[in-house]
Amino acid sequence: MAVKVAGRAASRSHDQPPGPATAPDLIQLLTPEGERTYHPDYPLELTTEEVKSLYRDLVLVRRIDFEAIALQRQGELGIWASLLGQEAAQVGSGRALGPRDMAFPTYREHGVAWCRGLDPARLLELFRGVSHGGWDPREHNFHLYTIVIGAQTLHATGYAMGIQRDGALGEDGEAVIVYFGDGATSQGDVNEAFIWASVTNAPIVFFCQNNQWAISEPLDRQSRIPLYHRARGFGFPGLRVDGNDVFACLAVTRKAMQAAREGQGPTLIEAYTYRMGAHTTTDDPTRYRLSAELESWKLKDPIERVKQYLIRSGLARDDFFAAVTAEADEVGTRVRTACLEMPDPDPLAIFDHVYAEPNAPLERERAQLAAYLSSFADEEPAPAGPEARP
């Protein structure tokens, strides 16, 4: 009963694994084999300590992610959005930020959160259902997770307009980075953010992690040309970086952020990467993609290539790798413990923080719920969930 429509774009190719992006497009400083390459525009110089520290971050954020997946499987989290495969894009860009720069994440930027210094337990609160986020964005200059696709791109642009108004530009100035996915590029809000940023020349970097999939939809449902080209339609530069190359992500983001700080306006960075896991723990990617694709991307693993580089160039030995693994286990345990120890919120906290100013009708609702709940006080313990009572 399938109908073929004339004049459609060439048939979609998501049964074939997306090949590597064509060479001239892709900015790369470290090959999948761990070979350091050089790019005239991105003369990145890293000390051994810096490379090791990047490696450590990559390993640690992957470990936190694994722990969270395990916690979800054990019923301790409601859901988890894994960053597996995107560690380099997140750590590379996250480490490119200065302390005064502001980052606006989606729901998957656990690696960036780590680089900003946010306690991973705070992320788990959200996925456990204890809060909707609840951290103070100003504490680490890391905004709350945003779940509505694309909405945060406008917040970030407005924030960048605030930096302009504060006179906080210049060599030592501030800039904003905002994260979003390949699917998000189709949302009106994201395109409006491009317009605003371009028209106001706002100090902002649009960091798109193209992980090839928006849940089950391959990239060709969102665009028929590479995403980084989108920027040129709005009049600012766009470029594509190997999203599995932490060096390249660092160098490219650093440069774009500095340009933004210095008043040169927005840049779109497309980090070409791959979502190695399911969309979230409730997703089943075997329904829509072939394992061959996954296999081909495994060869480009963002952590393995740094390890190879460290080994090849004799910068690190087994004891270093063992120490990082041990630290990862420690962090994993800490995260797990923090998760298990999280108290459930007080039911009456439903009414907290709705308004800054007093709100009489709401206080009345709070009092009513309090009275209602206390009417059960002498009965058996409250039911475990709304459906637990028959």
Binding site: S186, A214, I215, R221, D344, I350, V354, Y372, F376, P386
Partner: protein, 327 residues
């Protein structure tokens, strides 16, 4: 009779509609190979092709806006909004275009578009995945708004909604997707209750309880518990939220003299307000107690570990029934 989950019953209803009318299309995010995050469109792309089951770009305004264009060309698109909280980017297209184009054209344009929205809480989800925005559409003239409460209704109502020449906002109680009941698959729609009619699920004499969507099961359970205590609750599933089957409601309330409306949406300016206002007026001399409303609080939807206290449950329905009886 076949026993089906609500998700599967909707799937069968969609399949039947697509089989009987080649103009019926399905469009939305992940409706194709994945079959939708709740599997309501499972297998349909495989059987009807990518041109009739369309995985769209990730943009809800685009989904509803292009569906309007397809309807102008003679198609009958069924849009899936992945979760309730994501209907808002499409809000403008729904209230300013979908709802108004027939009026604007003095009846020359018809827009048989169905917008399916899994709605409500109780699944332990993160923010924006548990909303109940139905009253905003009820307030918007030009839309029909319905909610199915069980698989049998889901199967019939989705087909009726697709056959309807008006735009229909079709709410599906997401936490009931895996509930099962018997569904009369071969049975034609001819014998089905019209789409704009409520259904009395349980007759009763003491209190009329009005509900829809996810609260239907909750209220039936409450009625069963109340019966043990000797209270006879009449449970009416509204099904059609716009237009309301008002006469049926009045008839019941005039008999019982008491009315409780239950929904998950915030009580403040929720659909219960409209019902309470109408019933208070039309049954003024029959009411033994004010119409009481049970619903969400006037807050954003809380984190999952608090939702059991936010959502109306059996106890809160019974509490309201008791309060009504105490007048």
């Amino acid at each position: 009779m076949t026993v089906l989950t609500l998700s599967k019953a909707l799937n069968e209803g969609l399949r039947k509609a697509m089989e009987s009318d080649p103009k019926v299309l399905i469009m939305g995010e992940d409706v194709g190979k994945l079959g939708g995050v709740f599997r309501v469109t499972d297998g349909l792309q495989k059987d009807f092709g990518e041109d009739r089951v369309i995985d769209t770009p990730l943009a809800e305004s685009g989904i509803v806006g292009t569906a309007i264009g397809l309807a102008l060309r003679g198609y009958r698109p069924v849009c899936e909004i992945q979760f309730d909280g994501f209907v808002f980017p499409a809000f403008d297209q729904i209230v300013s275009q979908l709802a108004k184009m027939r009026y604007r054209s003095l009846g020359k344009v018809r827009l048989p578009v169905v917008v399916r929205i899994p709605f409500g809480g109780g699944i332990g989800a993160v923010e924006h995945h548990s909303e109940s925005p139905e009253v905003m559409f009820v307030h918007t003239g030009g839309l029909r708004v319905v909610a199915c409460g069980d698989p049998a209704d889901g199967y019939a109502m989705i087909q009726q909604a697709i056959a309807c020449d008006d735009p229909v906002i079709f709410f599906e109680p997401k936490r009931r997707y895996w509930d099962r009941t018997e569904v009369d698959l071969p049975g034609g729609l001819a014998t089905a209750l019209p789409l704009d009619r409520s259904r009395t699920l349980l007759p009763g004499t003491d209190v009329t309880v009005l509900c829809y969507g996810p609260m239907v099961r909750t209220c039936l359970e409450a009625a069963a518990a109340a019966r043990e205590d000797g209270t006879s609750i009449e449970v009416i599933d509204l099904r059609s939220l716009a237009p309301l089957d008002a006469e049926a409601i009045y008839e019941s309330v005039r008999r019982t003299g008491r009315c409780v409306v239950v929904h998950e949406a915030p009580v403040t300016a929720g659909l219960g307000a409209e019902i309470a206002a109408r019933v208070s007026q039309e049954c003024f001399y029959h009411l033994e107690a004010p119409v009481l409303r049970v619903g969400g609080f006037s807050t954003p939807y809380p984190p999952a570990r608090m939702e059991e206290h936010y959502l109306p449950d059996l106890d809160r329905v019974l509490d309201a029934v008791d309060r009504s009886l105490a007048y």
